[in-house]
Amino acid sequence: MPVSTPEPPSPAQLFLIFARIGLTSFGGGLSGWLLREFVQQRKLMSEEDFLNGLSIAQALPGVNVTNMAIWIGYRLGGRNGAIASWLGIVVPAALLIVLISTAFSALAGFALTHVALAGAACAAIGLSLSMGLTAARRVPRRAFPLAIMAATFVAVAILQWPLIWTVLVAGSLSVAVSYSRG
């Protein structure tokens, strides 16, 4: 193995790498895959650069993995790299999900299809709830963050206020308090 930094991938290669990751990523854990692919195996990025990107991808709104695709794509291939990586993670998986749903619609005449899908939905809600509980566990055990969490829940789930205003108000308040605490 040569010690020199490998040639950065072309936009087309980035598209293919992210397409493969997008099509094979089931149920989360994506950042681990990306770390293995770009830092450990291909050695295209330093671990620090990767982790900086990851914390930004998590802090900014947007799906973490699509944010990471744009971050990595930009670092490795500038504007075209970012566009190619983003298209790679979104477009093939978007086409596949439409195909899968069409397959389910074709089976919609059978009562069993709807029943099986309802069972899948229940298990999938477990996925959402466990993610929520994991996120709740990472909230600091102090009155203010806990109050923000509870207020957000009540506003969205019970009062059914529009999410965007709730998040804007609760988010900026909470970020401002975190910032002033340093």
Binding site: A59, G62, T66, A118, G119, C122, I125, V167, A170
Partner: protein, 178 residues
């Protein structure tokens, strides 16, 4: 682009900016707007689409693509995809662009910490809304809670769990219980 696709775009564009963490946080509001406000889908169609989006690989926000597809075909899918991914893509692109000159460590930490309780609240709200719209009663809620416990306690593959949920219901149906 047909008028309905434009309306779909208008629904998803702002939602893009509140998908903190994963796509989960926006699901409650997607439900509110798509089912309650516009009546584009029934609650059970929405839950079906949610299940398919969890079964399929790729970013969880592809639920939006699927909803757009179900409402208005290819144009709907395109509008929803651009809406849910577009604004945040531009945002992270901008940050990646200025990152080298951006001494933002403290702000970044405040963002990450400050958004944590908000993300937890919205994801829990999404779970609540989905649980409430299940039409399979206590068996379904029990299965959802059991799957939550399994995910928290074991390193089980989520896809296996979702397949198991489908199999479980199919079996109950075949023996005449559900």
């Amino acid at each position: 682009m047909p008028a309905i696709a434009l309306s779909i775009l208008v629904v998803f564009l702002p939602l893009s900016l509140v998908t903190i963490g994963g796509g989960q946080s926006a699901v409650a509001d997607m439900h509110r707007q798509i089912v309650d406000l516009h009546g584009w889908m029934t609650a059970s169609q929405f839950v079906d689409a949610f299940a398919i989006s969890r079964l399929a690989p790729g970013p969880g926000s592809l639920l939006a693509t699927l909803i757009g597809w179900r409402i208005a075909g290819p144009w709907g899918a395109l509008a929803a995809t651009i809406g849910i991914f577009g604004p945040t893509a531009l945002l992270i692109y901008g940050v990646a662009h200025i990152w080298s000159r951006f001494e933002g460590a403290r702000l970044l930490k405040a963002l990450e910490r400050g958004l944590r309780p908000v993300a937890a609240g919205t994801i829990l709200a999404a779970s609540y809304v989905l649980l409430a719209s299940l039409d399979s009663g206590w068996i379904g809620r029990g299965l959802a809670l059991a799957s939550t416990a399994l995910l928290m306690a074991t390193p089980i593959n989520p896809l296996l769990l979702i397949g198991g949920g489908a199999g479980c219901f199919a079996l109950l149906h075949l023996v005449g219980l559900a």
